[in-house]
Subunit: 359 residues, 2 copies
Amino acid sequence: MDDQRVISKLNNLGNKILEDIRLGEGPRIRMPQRGIGNIIFNERENILELGEKTSTRSFLNVAHSRKFMQTILIASKCKEFVSRGKTASIRELYYQLKHTIPGTKENTFEDQSESDPLIVDLETALGVLREELHLKADDKGTLIGKITIEDSGDFIDCSKLGRSGLSIPSIVEHYKFHDVQAEYVLVIETGAMFDRLVEEKYHIKNNCIMVATKGQAARGCRRLVHRLHHELKLPVIMFTDGDPWGYYIYSVMKAGSMALAHESKRLGTPGMKLVGMTMTDIDTYGLEKVTEKLKDVDKRRINELLQYPWFQKKEWKKELNLMIKKGVRIEQQALASKSLEFVAEEYLPEKISKGIMLP
Amino acid sequence: MDDQRVISKLNNLGNKILEDIRLGEGPRIRMPQRGIGNIIFNERENILELGEKTSTRSFLNVAHSRKFMQTILIASKCKEFVSRGKTASIRELYYQLKHTIPGTKENTFEDQSESDPLIVDLETALGVLREELHLKADDKGTLIGKITIEDSGDFIDCSKLGRSGLSIPSIVEHYKFHDVQAEYVLVIETGAMFDRLVEEKYHIKNNCIMVATKGQAARGCRRLVHRLHHELKLPVIMFTDGDPWGYYIYSVMKAGSMALAHESKRLGTPGMKLVGMTMTDIDTYGLEKVTEKLKDVDKRRINELLQYPWFQKKEWKKELNLMIKKGVRIEQQALASKSLEFVAEEYLPEKISKGIMLP
């Protein structure tokens, strides 16, 4: 969505409130409900999304009026950011808006915990991402491989970044893609495994783009993978640890999260698949010796995953139940027990070429 | 240190043990003690280092023999890594070495917590960094600015990386520096402030290299800043939050840490200075409204810093005592309360040009 459309959405919000006032009505903002009762797993599209239920914030409702005022302040400041071509972190937004209301002892905001949820409200009310409102989250993640990214006038050949790679920023809306020679995107959970594959020149030999999420993926990383998949039609394959935490990171990349269900369509990549680590790998590759016993916290998490609608596919139920039965987890780096090169020269090429992946 | 010298140090260790055996003596390894009693703050060089006390690990001492065996296994595997031009994460090292000793039920290692401290032992015994043994830690941090880095045959112009920047890897020993136009290095604690300064083109307008540590700096990031300072003679200025946590991140970058005192000389940058945030800034720039009250945990941490020999300079004692007196902390991003551009257009240029910095 371009800046002009975002500004026009913000203007509409303001005009609607002015109209309420002109009509002598209490100003109101309507937005989708974000509670668990309105979060739906769309099985056809493989994505978490918000349902039809809405709620209304009214200026003249005493319980709402402070939040109403704060929401409008945020909308107004975002309009300024977008108009001026500036971006700000959600913390900077808070600091920019925090002040004492003249003639009172009332502060607009006492704490960032007041402004953060209202940003989400504004995103859902307007149907825009916070990045489109020019608000930044923390950034994390690295990219390397056969693609040239145009960023603010610079053309970055991501296959010519040595072993270092490109630091993925929090906002990637401005990225333009050129000279895409890669055939797929490999998303890797741990920085250490990304380093291993870079050292083995996996991205060169296998003609792909590699992205390290370094744990739970940051929004910029999710959005970038989404764009690579949807705009360039590149298949996306993820490679995580074989434990409930790795699988959940995968599911958020793929289908979105409950907390941010309104954003799954812009951040999620429902078409992606998981190459490993799986419980089946343990037998296939003889890795019993390098598994680790499940802790209670792991077991609880597996049982939670088994409840989620998006883990109801038979392949996933089989893997998760096998994990409980074996009582072990396995890390990506455990493949080093075979040899350092094993993951790059045998494990990944074999599984990917044969399509041995989880949905 | 080049690979050949590291291999020769590893060979010497092995030959010494062979000699012990030939002489009919129990094989021993001597290494500096790393306990608090042997950690010294070198005031002249402004750096934490290990003293002269050593300890000995003997194969024939039952309490030592398992560790002795493990140390030798690690040394031998590192020699293999270096000889083959491979690097490995400390987790991969563990997985590569974990096996059952033939004819017994004894595993070489049960857990990575057994191998990690022995890596440090080997570093201190040989006087080499783990990166020189081709072992990787986690990577974190981003660099942007007027320098070209040669990495594995690629020449990366770090002023042409849009708003993204270079992802700093865990090992930077192989980096070669070219075409350095920057006049200094600005090291920034938070990713959000780094983003702000990138957006304001601070590095272009002020002709510097900017490095984001993103919290406590990773080893690769510390080593890179060390190299930029010592090899290129670039002044280094750090910019952290105004709280004991930010100041400690600074002190580790500058003087090293107690846990890794043996590495300060290779990772630390004793010549660096801190531009802010300081308690004095609060009065100078009228930031009272955007400070935050100290929590008990902050107060305890300040009192700990006040005990450390490397915080005994009068400027630091003044700042830390002022923090206790005011009872507040202040974040880098609080400068956004003036304007988004304030930090880049006024705060940093003014303080740096006037040299208003802490030692």
